[in-house]
Protein backbone atom coordinates (compact mmCIF):
# COMPACT_ATOMS: atom_id res chain seq x y z
CA UNK A 1 0.00 0.00 0.00
CA UNK A 2 1.44 3.38 -1.01
CA UNK A 3 1.97 5.70 1.89
CA UNK A 4 0.03 8.90 2.43
CA UNK A 5 2.75 11.23 1.20
CA UNK A 6 3.06 9.40 -2.13
CA UNK A 7 -0.67 9.52 -2.66
CA UNK A 8 -0.77 13.21 -1.89
CA UNK A 9 2.00 13.93 -4.39
CA UNK A 10 0.26 11.84 -7.00
CA UNK A 11 -2.99 13.76 -6.55
CA UNK A 12 -1.13 17.06 -6.84
CA UNK A 13 0.54 15.98 -10.05
CA UNK A 14 -2.70 14.82 -11.65
CA UNK A 15 -4.29 18.11 -10.63
CA UNK A 16 -1.52 19.97 -12.44
CA UNK A 17 -2.03 17.83 -15.52
CA UNK A 18 -5.71 18.63 -15.41
CA UNK A 19 -4.95 22.35 -15.26
CA UNK A 20 -2.80 22.06 -18.37
CA UNK A 21 -5.29 20.03 -20.39
CA UNK A 22 -8.06 22.38 -19.34
CA UNK A 23 -6.02 25.38 -20.50
CA UNK A 24 -5.23 23.67 -23.80
CA UNK A 25 -8.88 22.92 -24.31
CA UNK A 26 -9.83 26.54 -23.81
CA UNK A 27 -7.09 27.76 -26.12
CA UNK A 28 -8.23 25.25 -28.74
CA UNK A 29 -11.81 26.47 -28.36
CA UNK A 30 -10.77 30.05 -29.00
CA UNK A 31 -8.60 29.05 -31.95
CA UNK A 32 -11.37 26.88 -33.32
CA UNK A 33 -13.70 29.84 -33.40
CA UNK A 34 -11.15 31.85 -35.33
CA UNK A 35 -10.42 28.99 -37.71
CA UNK A 36 -14.11 28.49 -38.37
CA UNK A 37 -14.54 32.19 -39.04
CA UNK A 38 -11.79 32.25 -41.62
CA UNK A 39 -13.16 29.10 -43.21
CA UNK A 40 -16.55 30.75 -43.40
CA UNK A 41 -15.17 33.96 -44.86
CA UNK A 42 -13.37 32.19 -47.64
CA UNK A 43 -16.43 30.18 -48.61
CA UNK A 44 -18.08 32.84 -50.86
CA UNK A 45 -14.86 33.10 -52.86
CA UNK A 46 -14.48 29.35 -53.24
CA UNK A 47 -18.11 28.86 -54.21
CA UNK A 48 -18.16 31.57 -56.83
CA UNK A 49 -14.80 30.59 -58.15
CA UNK A 50 -15.83 26.97 -58.56
CA UNK A 51 -19.15 27.93 -60.14
CA UNK A 52 -17.44 30.06 -62.77
CA UNK A 53 -14.64 27.61 -63.35
CA UNK A 54 -17.06 24.71 -63.51
CA UNK A 55 -19.14 26.50 -66.13
CA UNK A 56 -16.07 27.31 -68.18
CA UNK A 57 -14.71 23.82 -67.85
CA UNK A 58 -18.02 22.38 -69.01
CA UNK A 59 -18.02 24.48 -72.17
CA UNK A 60 -14.35 24.14 -73.09
CA UNK A 61 -13.61 20.79 -71.50
CA UNK A 62 -14.67 18.63 -74.41
CA UNK A 63 -12.44 20.23 -76.99
CA UNK A 64 -8.96 19.02 -77.84
CA UNK A 65 -7.43 22.34 -76.94
CA UNK A 66 -8.44 22.01 -73.30
CA UNK A 67 -5.54 22.75 -70.96
CA UNK A 68 -3.72 19.83 -69.41
CA UNK A 69 -4.71 20.90 -65.92
CA UNK A 70 -8.28 20.13 -66.90
CA UNK A 71 -8.02 17.19 -69.24
CA UNK A 72 -5.01 15.53 -67.64
CA UNK A 73 -1.88 14.27 -69.34
CA UNK A 74 -3.73 11.33 -70.82
CA UNK A 75 -1.87 8.99 -68.52
CA UNK A 76 -2.54 7.66 -65.08
CA UNK A 77 0.87 6.33 -64.09
CA UNK A 78 2.39 8.71 -61.60
CA UNK A 79 0.33 9.81 -58.65
CA UNK A 80 1.28 12.67 -56.39
CA UNK A 81 -0.27 12.54 -52.94
CA UNK A 82 -0.27 15.73 -50.92
CA UNK A 83 -0.88 14.81 -47.33
CA UNK A 84 -1.83 17.74 -45.15
CA UNK A 85 -1.59 17.37 -41.39
CA UNK A 86 -0.98 19.62 -38.42
CA UNK A 87 2.29 21.03 -37.17
CA UNK A 88 1.53 19.98 -33.63
CA UNK A 89 0.35 16.91 -31.83
CA UNK A 90 -1.92 16.39 -28.85
CA UNK A 91 -5.01 16.56 -30.99
CA UNK A 92 -6.50 13.11 -30.73
CA UNK A 93 -6.57 10.98 -33.85
CA UNK A 94 -6.44 13.95 -36.20
CA UNK A 95 -2.95 13.49 -37.63
CA UNK A 96 -2.95 9.72 -37.62
CA UNK A 97 -6.34 9.50 -39.36
CA UNK A 98 -5.17 11.61 -42.28
CA UNK A 99 -1.86 9.77 -42.46
CA UNK A 100 -3.67 6.44 -42.36
CA UNK A 101 -5.92 7.40 -45.27
CA UNK A 102 -2.95 8.65 -47.27
CA UNK A 103 -0.94 5.53 -46.52
CA UNK A 104 -3.80 3.23 -47.49
CA UNK A 105 -4.20 5.05 -50.81
CA UNK A 106 -0.46 4.93 -51.45
CA UNK A 107 -0.31 1.20 -50.79
CA UNK A 108 -3.33 0.59 -52.99
CA UNK A 109 -1.72 2.52 -55.84
CA UNK A 110 1.59 0.76 -55.39
CA UNK A 111 -0.22 -2.57 -55.51
CA UNK A 112 -1.74 -1.50 -58.84
CA UNK A 113 1.73 -0.88 -60.17
CA UNK A 114 1.56 2.91 -60.23
CA UNK A 115 4.36 5.21 -59.21
CA UNK A 116 3.59 7.12 -56.05
CA UNK A 117 5.18 10.38 -54.96
CA UNK A 118 4.36 12.04 -51.69
CA UNK A 119 4.52 15.63 -50.56
CA UNK A 120 3.58 16.39 -46.98
CA UNK A 121 2.35 19.57 -45.40
CA UNK A 122 2.75 19.72 -41.65
CA UNK A 123 5.41 18.15 -39.49
CA UNK A 124 3.34 15.43 -37.87
CA UNK A 125 2.32 13.78 -41.10
CA UNK A 126 5.84 13.96 -42.45
CA UNK A 127 7.24 12.05 -39.52
CA UNK A 128 4.80 9.16 -39.73
CA UNK A 129 4.76 8.95 -43.54
CA UNK A 130 8.53 9.03 -43.81
CA UNK A 131 8.81 6.02 -41.58
CA UNK A 132 6.80 3.68 -43.88
CA UNK A 133 6.98 5.29 -47.28
CA UNK A 134 10.30 7.09 -47.09
CA UNK A 135 11.39 6.16 -50.61
CA UNK A 136 8.31 7.81 -52.14
CA UNK A 137 8.77 11.01 -50.21
CA UNK A 138 9.75 13.93 -52.45
CA UNK A 139 9.02 17.10 -50.55
CA UNK A 140 7.70 18.81 -47.49
CA UNK A 141 6.05 22.16 -46.88
CA UNK A 142 6.86 23.65 -43.53
CA UNK A 143 4.21 25.82 -41.95
CA UNK A 144 5.67 25.84 -38.44
CA UNK A 145 6.38 29.54 -38.60
CA UNK A 146 2.95 30.41 -39.92
CA UNK A 147 0.63 31.70 -37.23
CA UNK A 148 -2.41 32.12 -39.37
CA UNK A 149 -2.74 30.31 -42.68
CA UNK A 150 -3.20 32.81 -45.48
CA UNK A 151 -3.89 32.56 -49.17
CA UNK A 152 -0.18 33.18 -49.76
CA UNK A 153 0.69 29.85 -48.17
CA UNK A 154 -1.78 28.05 -50.41
CA UNK A 155 -0.37 29.88 -53.43
CA UNK A 156 3.16 28.81 -52.56
CA UNK A 157 2.11 25.17 -52.33
CA UNK A 158 0.12 25.44 -55.55
CA UNK A 159 3.04 27.05 -57.36
CA UNK A 160 5.31 24.22 -56.27
CA UNK A 161 2.78 21.64 -57.50
CA UNK A 162 2.31 23.39 -60.83
CA UNK A 163 6.04 23.54 -61.45
CA UNK A 164 6.21 19.80 -60.83
CA UNK A 165 3.20 19.26 -63.09
CA UNK A 166 4.74 21.29 -65.90
CA UNK A 167 7.90 19.29 -65.45
CA UNK A 168 5.74 16.19 -66.00
CA UNK A 169 6.68 14.77 -62.64
CA UNK A 170 3.18 13.41 -62.09
CA UNK A 171 -0.15 12.79 -63.86
CA UNK A 172 -2.68 12.90 -61.06
CA UNK A 173 -2.57 14.92 -57.87
CA UNK A 174 -4.70 14.18 -54.85
CA UNK A 175 -4.80 16.12 -51.60
CA UNK A 176 -5.56 14.57 -48.23
CA UNK A 177 -7.03 16.65 -45.46
CA UNK A 178 -9.65 16.50 -42.79
CA UNK A 179 -13.08 17.94 -43.41
CA UNK A 180 -14.55 19.73 -40.44
CA UNK A 181 -18.09 18.62 -39.62
CA UNK A 182 -18.28 19.56 -35.96
CA UNK A 183 -16.14 19.42 -32.84
CA UNK A 184 -16.41 15.66 -32.47
CA UNK A 185 -16.51 14.69 -36.14
CA UNK A 186 -13.77 15.35 -38.67
CA UNK A 187 -13.71 13.28 -41.80
CA UNK A 188 -10.36 12.51 -43.44
CA UNK A 189 -10.93 13.27 -47.11
CA UNK A 190 -9.11 12.64 -50.36
CA UNK A 191 -9.71 15.13 -53.14
CA UNK A 192 -8.31 15.04 -56.64
CA UNK A 193 -7.16 18.49 -57.75
CA UNK A 194 -5.16 17.76 -60.91
CA UNK A 195 -6.72 17.11 -63.39
CA UNK A 196 -9.46 19.32 -62.03
CA UNK A 197 -12.80 17.68 -61.40
CA UNK A 198 -16.05 19.53 -60.90
CA UNK A 199 -18.92 17.40 -59.83
CA UNK A 200 -21.01 19.76 -57.79
CA UNK A 201 -20.42 23.00 -59.68
CA UNK A 202 -21.25 23.97 -63.21
CA UNK A 203 -24.99 24.56 -63.42
CA UNK A 204 -24.77 28.22 -62.42
CA UNK A 205 -22.04 29.12 -64.87
CA UNK A 206 -23.15 26.94 -67.75
CA UNK A 207 -26.68 28.27 -67.94
CA UNK A 208 -25.67 31.78 -69.03
CA UNK A 209 -23.94 32.59 -72.26
CA UNK A 210 -21.07 34.87 -71.47
CA UNK A 211 -18.90 37.11 -73.53
CA UNK A 212 -15.30 36.49 -72.69
CA UNK A 213 -12.54 39.00 -72.41
CA UNK A 214 -9.87 38.10 -73.48
CA UNK A 215 -10.91 34.66 -74.84
CA UNK A 216 -12.60 31.71 -73.21
CA UNK A 217 -9.45 29.60 -73.42
CA UNK A 218 -7.21 32.37 -72.12
CA UNK A 219 -9.43 32.89 -69.08
CA UNK A 220 -9.61 29.19 -68.42
CA UNK A 221 -5.83 28.87 -68.68
CA UNK A 222 -5.53 31.76 -66.26
CA UNK A 223 -8.10 30.40 -63.83
CA UNK A 224 -7.08 26.75 -63.59
CA UNK A 225 -3.80 27.36 -61.72
CA UNK A 226 -5.70 29.65 -59.38
CA UNK A 227 -8.25 26.91 -58.92
CA UNK A 228 -5.51 24.68 -57.58
CA UNK A 229 -4.51 27.35 -55.07
CA UNK A 230 -8.12 27.93 -54.11
CA UNK A 231 -8.74 24.27 -53.41
CA UNK A 232 -5.56 23.98 -51.39
CA UNK A 233 -6.48 27.08 -49.44
CA UNK A 234 -9.94 25.71 -48.69
CA UNK A 235 -8.39 22.43 -47.59
CA UNK A 236 -5.88 24.20 -45.35
CA UNK A 237 -8.64 26.12 -43.65
CA UNK A 238 -10.78 23.01 -43.17
CA UNK A 239 -7.75 21.28 -41.78
CA UNK A 240 -7.08 24.14 -39.37
CA UNK A 241 -10.61 24.02 -38.01
CA UNK A 242 -10.50 20.22 -37.78
CA UNK A 243 -7.21 20.29 -35.91
CA UNK A 244 -8.52 22.67 -33.28
CA UNK A 245 -11.82 20.83 -33.01
CA UNK A 246 -10.04 17.55 -32.60
CA UNK A 247 -7.66 18.99 -30.04
CA UNK A 248 -10.56 20.49 -28.15
CA UNK A 249 -12.38 17.20 -27.77
CA UNK A 250 -9.16 15.31 -27.02
CA UNK A 251 -8.30 17.76 -24.26
CA UNK A 252 -11.86 17.68 -22.97
CA UNK A 253 -11.53 13.91 -22.59
CA UNK A 254 -8.15 14.26 -20.94
CA UNK A 255 -9.52 16.78 -18.46
CA UNK A 256 -12.40 14.47 -17.61
CA UNK A 257 -10.10 11.48 -17.18
CA UNK A 258 -7.84 13.49 -14.90
CA UNK A 259 -10.89 14.46 -12.84
CA UNK A 260 -11.93 10.82 -12.48
CA UNK A 261 -8.43 9.84 -11.51
CA UNK A 262 -8.30 12.56 -8.87
CA UNK A 263 -11.60 11.31 -7.39
CA UNK A 264 -10.28 7.75 -7.26
CA UNK A 265 -6.99 8.76 -5.71
CA UNK A 266 -8.71 10.99 -3.18
CA UNK A 267 -10.90 8.10 -2.02
CA UNK A 268 -7.83 5.91 -1.71
CA UNK A 269 -6.04 8.67 0.20
CA UNK A 270 -8.93 9.14 2.63
CA UNK A 271 -9.23 5.39 3.20
CA UNK A 272 -5.57 4.97 4.00
CA UNK A 273 -5.65 7.97 6.31
CA UNK A 274 -8.65 6.46 8.10
CA UNK A 275 -6.83 3.12 8.32
CA UNK A 276 -3.86 4.84 9.97
CA UNK A 277 -6.14 6.57 12.49
CA UNK A 278 -8.00 3.35 13.27
CA UNK A 279 -4.70 1.58 13.76
CA UNK A 280 -3.49 4.20 16.21
CA UNK A 281 -6.76 4.05 18.14
CA UNK A 282 -6.52 0.27 18.42
CA UNK A 283 -3.00 0.60 19.69
CA UNK A 284 -4.03 3.17 22.32
CA UNK A 285 -7.06 1.16 23.45
CA UNK A 286 -5.21 -2.13 23.67
CA UNK A 287 -2.41 -0.33 25.50
CA UNK A 288 -4.92 1.05 28.03
CA UNK A 289 -6.55 -2.36 28.49
CA UNK A 290 -3.22 -3.98 29.18
CA UNK A 291 -2.67 -1.74 32.21
Amino acid sequence: MPNLKDLKNRIESVKNTRKITKAMQMVAAAKLRRAQESAEQSRPYTERFNAVLGGLAASVGGSDSAPKLLSGTGKDDVHLLVIMTAERGLCGGFNSNIAKLGRARAQQLIAQGKTVKIVTVGKKGRDSIKRDLGEHFIGHVDLTEVKRVGYDNAQDIARDLLVRFDGEEFDVCTIFYSKFVNVVTQIPTAQQIIPASFDDAGEAGASTLYDYEPSEEAILADLLPRGVATQIFAALLENGASEQGSRMSAMDNATRNAGEMIDKLTIQYNRSRQAVITNELIEIISGAEAL
Binding site: Q41, S42, Y151, T208
Partner: protein, 131 residues
Protein backbone atom coordinates in the same frame (compact mmCIF):
# COMPACT_ATOMS: atom_id res chain seq x y z
CA UNK B 1 -35.60 47.38 -65.37
CA UNK B 2 -34.10 47.92 -61.99
CA UNK B 3 -31.60 50.75 -61.86
CA UNK B 4 -29.21 49.06 -59.51
CA UNK B 5 -27.23 45.87 -59.66
CA UNK B 6 -25.92 43.60 -56.95
CA UNK B 7 -22.19 44.13 -56.45
CA UNK B 8 -20.09 41.54 -54.63
CA UNK B 9 -16.39 41.71 -54.00
CA UNK B 10 -14.80 38.59 -52.61
CA UNK B 11 -11.19 37.68 -51.96
CA UNK B 12 -9.93 34.30 -50.75
CA UNK B 13 -9.61 35.51 -47.19
CA UNK B 14 -12.88 37.34 -46.83
CA UNK B 15 -15.88 38.87 -48.55
CA UNK B 16 -15.22 42.60 -48.69
CA UNK B 17 -18.39 44.07 -50.05
CA UNK B 18 -21.92 43.19 -50.97
CA UNK B 19 -24.16 46.08 -51.90
CA UNK B 20 -26.51 47.57 -54.47
CA UNK B 21 -24.62 49.70 -56.96
CA UNK B 22 -25.67 51.91 -59.85
CA UNK B 23 -22.42 51.50 -61.77
CA UNK B 24 -19.13 49.69 -61.26
CA UNK B 25 -15.84 50.47 -62.96
CA UNK B 26 -13.45 47.58 -63.16
CA UNK B 27 -9.94 47.25 -64.57
CA UNK B 28 -10.48 44.53 -67.18
CA UNK B 29 -7.55 42.70 -68.70
CA UNK B 30 -8.06 44.44 -72.04
CA UNK B 31 -8.98 47.85 -70.62
CA UNK B 32 -11.15 49.52 -68.05
CA UNK B 33 -14.86 49.02 -68.35
CA UNK B 34 -17.94 50.21 -66.57
CA UNK B 35 -20.78 47.85 -65.82
CA UNK B 36 -24.26 49.23 -65.36
CA UNK B 37 -27.57 47.43 -64.87
CA UNK B 38 -28.50 45.50 -67.97
CA UNK B 39 -24.92 44.87 -69.06
CA UNK B 40 -24.59 41.86 -71.31
CA UNK B 41 -23.11 38.81 -69.55
CA UNK B 42 -19.35 39.06 -69.55
CA UNK B 43 -16.54 37.20 -67.94
CA UNK B 44 -13.25 39.04 -67.85
CA UNK B 45 -9.98 38.65 -66.07
CA UNK B 46 -8.63 41.65 -64.19
CA UNK B 47 -5.37 43.48 -64.16
CA UNK B 48 -4.19 45.21 -60.96
CA UNK B 49 -6.15 48.38 -60.50
CA UNK B 50 -8.93 50.18 -58.76
CA UNK B 51 -12.55 49.05 -58.68
CA UNK B 52 -14.89 51.99 -58.25
CA UNK B 53 -18.43 51.34 -57.08
CA UNK B 54 -21.07 54.03 -57.49
CA UNK B 55 -24.13 53.65 -55.35
CA UNK B 56 -26.83 55.81 -53.80
CA UNK B 57 -24.72 56.22 -50.72
CA UNK B 58 -21.67 57.52 -52.57
CA UNK B 59 -18.60 56.12 -54.27
CA UNK B 60 -16.38 53.43 -52.87
CA UNK B 61 -13.04 52.28 -54.19
CA UNK B 62 -11.22 49.01 -53.80
CA UNK B 63 -7.73 48.11 -54.87
CA UNK B 64 -7.51 44.67 -56.45
CA UNK B 65 -4.61 42.74 -57.88
CA UNK B 66 -5.63 40.14 -60.40
CA UNK B 67 -8.59 37.82 -60.40
CA UNK B 68 -11.67 38.02 -62.54
CA UNK B 69 -15.13 39.54 -62.73
CA UNK B 70 -18.42 37.99 -63.67
CA UNK B 71 -20.94 40.47 -64.99
CA UNK B 72 -24.59 39.81 -65.71
CA UNK B 73 -27.60 42.08 -66.17
CA UNK B 74 -28.47 42.13 -62.48
CA UNK B 75 -25.22 41.47 -60.73
CA UNK B 76 -21.48 41.81 -60.84
CA UNK B 77 -19.09 39.68 -58.84
CA UNK B 78 -15.48 40.64 -58.58
CA UNK B 79 -13.47 37.62 -57.56
CA UNK B 80 -10.11 39.10 -56.70
CA UNK B 81 -6.82 37.46 -55.87
CA UNK B 82 -6.15 40.13 -53.25
CA UNK B 83 -8.38 43.08 -52.46
CA UNK B 84 -8.22 46.01 -50.08
CA UNK B 85 -10.76 48.71 -49.35
CA UNK B 86 -9.55 51.89 -51.05
CA UNK B 87 -9.39 53.98 -47.89
CA UNK B 88 -7.12 51.80 -45.83
CA UNK B 89 -4.82 50.41 -48.48
CA UNK B 90 -1.24 51.56 -48.12
CA UNK B 91 1.56 51.46 -50.60
CA UNK B 92 3.41 49.10 -48.30
CA UNK B 93 0.62 46.52 -48.68
CA UNK B 94 1.34 46.31 -52.35
CA UNK B 95 5.10 46.37 -52.18
CA UNK B 96 5.24 42.66 -51.34
CA UNK B 97 3.00 41.89 -54.28
CA UNK B 98 5.22 43.99 -56.52
CA UNK B 99 8.42 42.30 -55.38
CA UNK B 100 6.88 38.89 -55.99
CA UNK B 101 5.60 39.99 -59.39
CA UNK B 102 9.03 41.29 -60.33
CA UNK B 103 10.75 38.03 -59.48
CA UNK B 104 8.00 36.13 -61.29
CA UNK B 105 8.47 38.30 -64.36
CA UNK B 106 12.23 37.81 -64.32
CA UNK B 107 11.98 34.06 -64.10
CA UNK B 108 8.94 33.62 -66.34
CA UNK B 109 9.37 31.52 -69.50
CA UNK B 110 9.22 33.36 -72.80
CA UNK B 111 5.56 32.72 -73.59
CA UNK B 112 4.27 34.19 -70.32
CA UNK B 113 6.95 36.86 -69.93
CA UNK B 114 4.87 39.56 -71.63
CA UNK B 115 1.92 38.94 -69.34
CA UNK B 116 4.11 38.95 -66.24
CA UNK B 117 5.82 42.15 -67.26
CA UNK B 118 2.50 43.78 -68.02
CA UNK B 119 1.36 42.80 -64.54
CA UNK B 120 4.40 44.54 -63.04
CA UNK B 121 3.87 47.63 -65.17
CA UNK B 122 0.21 47.79 -64.15
CA UNK B 123 1.17 47.50 -60.51
CA UNK B 124 3.77 50.24 -60.76
CA UNK B 125 1.27 52.52 -62.46
CA UNK B 126 -1.31 51.75 -59.82
CA UNK B 127 1.09 52.54 -57.01
CA UNK B 128 2.18 55.80 -58.58
CA UNK B 129 -1.41 56.94 -58.82
CA UNK B 130 -2.12 56.13 -55.22
CA UNK B 131 -0.33 59.08 -53.67
Amino acid sequence: MANTLQFDLVSPERALASLQATAVQIPGADGDLTAMPGHSPLLTSLRPGVVTVQSDTGNKTYVVTGGFAEISAESISVIAETAHAGDDVKKTDLEDVLTNARTAADTAPAETKDAAEKFVADLVELMENME
